[in-house]
Symmetry: C2
Subunit: 312 residues, 2 copies
């Protein structure tokens, strides 16, 4: 089936906020895919065949070639396994699982079933990211500072799963920063210490300060905070011997020593689906667990501070 | 230097409980190594050149070919990096680091410096483990039950680091069970849920219940508890269609359907050093992070229950 021009028939699983905000518009604009069905326990998409479960969709929609999972991470493994076992190519929203270990098992299953598995990190497709990576590749890096702050009430309304174990809390947006960092920095890094602030009535942190380093001893600091009600601050500063690079607005804006570089318009999710299409065509998978690994390390090594209850 | 019969000159770093209980006797009985020096901020070993830091030992003891790190995991990366950079072969006590990500960086450093890195898991060298692995390799496994319980006051006196972030708490012994499980079970498994009990005055859990599964849906349950004052229970039961295998006493005793198999005497640490010697001779490394990965997953995905303060 590789190389022909027939659109890839795809089903969406989990019609929640991210599916409506991003996946459905991106798929509608992407002629390489043909959206054939959706599966979600309660939500429907106007004009599209609907199933309450992935299993029902797989049983009925036999022409599907791919599945995109927009469900919370806690249920992603079972769904991905079922789709791969049925021979479907699978794209996973971030994070790719509730545990790091399960993702390696999915990657093996994809290989065994000759399917593509794409563990997507949408922030890596922000327009400034590849240009930042290219610029940093040959630079001597002195320090890195990450500020990733937003108002949880604005960005995650009614998402109870995000406060549950495996829901990641403030690492749900913070992992976007980590997915960019692991892409743009030329050397692997690791956590040395972390402070996590956890509301007494919740399981996951509402704020985190992280200190990383690499084998050269580079200081890499990150602050994630969900209690930021003055707009959004999604920003990475990299100080090098040749000047300072700033990725702002989540990667949409790139400046070097204050001079803005034209990186084109934001199209993260359209770019994700283009990448998924390329992976399917070439018979490859793309599974990089490092951003989730850093979060697991932060939960392993972080010092927890219990704070007042927080009602989302 | 490969293949000659000169003993490998080795230095011990961190002369604490595990070094005195296990490493020093094992090295004394192993003619392949010659213990040349030790580095530890306060403790000395009678009759052995002593340094307060690894760096001082490396600077003076230029004939050293290998270093064994018996320090807490929080300082292990910096020490391993320094030793590898000086061209020494390195053996790490378990766990191999305070984060999972740092271990991959150490493995790269070992490759670059053509040194052996041995991330040791002493419980894998318990006498029943390989026989259990062989017996299970062809069996259909129905379920697995792990009980790993001991009295923390008996086994970890005065070890403040174990209650600190990165010290792992009850996972410090529990990871021994996980190091055996990842060796004896024929299929990769992953965590699906966990409950962690954390004393209000400590950072790490005193008890944990873990539920794992694999791609076949096998139920794998583990209970770790440090509040067990009736001897030790270090036991793994694997129910198969051909009968039940039990590894008891931390892997020293193997029974199948109640019939004990003769697996020989306990010699975990002597066996570790024999393995280290073989790795050095063949120019290989052995770095398996899966046991630590499972612990990180448990800290990522576990539900925390705060309980009364515990004074060790």
């Amino acid at each position: 089936m590789h190389g022909d021009s027939t659109p890839v028939s795809i089903g969406i699983v989990g019609v929640g906020k991210i599916a409506r905000d991003q996946h459905l518009p991106a798929l509608a604009a992407q002629p390489g895919f043909s959206l054939a069905a959706c599966a979600s326990p309660h939500s429907r998409v106007e004009g599209l065949p609907h199933y309450t479960t992935l299993e029902a969709m797989l049983a009925e929609e036999t022409a599907l070639r791919a599945v995109s999972l927009c469900t919370p991470p806690q249920v992603r493994f079972a769904q991905a396994r079922a789709a791969l076992a049925a021979g479907k190519h699978v794209m996973l929203e971030k994070p790719p699982g509730a545990s790091v270990s399960e993702v390696a098992i999915l990657a093996d299953l994809a290989r065994q079933n000759r399917c593509t598995l794409f563990a997507s990190w949408h922030s890596r497709h922000a327009p400034g990211v590849e240009a930042a990576r290219d610029w940093l590749a040959s630079r001597a890096i002195v320090s890195v500072n990450v500020q990733w702050k937003e108002d949880v009430r604005r960005w995650h309304p009614n998402q109870a799963w995000i406060w549950e174990p495996g829901g990641l809390g403030v690492f749900d947006p913070g992992i976007n920063a980590l997915s960019i960092l692991t892409r743009v920095l030329p050397h692997a890094f690791f956590l040395t210490s972390a402070d996590l602030w956890v509301p007494a009535n919740q399981q996951t942190p509402i704020a985190a300060h992280l200190a990383f380093t690499d084998e050269r001893g580079t200081a890499i600091a990150a602050e994630f905070d969900w209690r930021h009600d003055a707009g959004e601050l999604w920003q990475i500063d990299v100080t090098t011997r040749d000047g300072t690079l700033r990725l702002a607005q989540g990667g949409k804006q790139l400046t070097i020593d204050g001079a803005e570089i034209d990186v084109g318009p934001e199209r993260e999710y359209p770019s994700l689906y283009t990448r998924f299409l390329e992976l399917i065509a070439s018979g490859e998978s793309d599974v990089d667990v490092r951003p989730l690994q850093h979060v697991a390390d932060a939960m392993l090594l972080g010092r927890r501070h219990l704070i007042d209850p927080f009602v989302p």
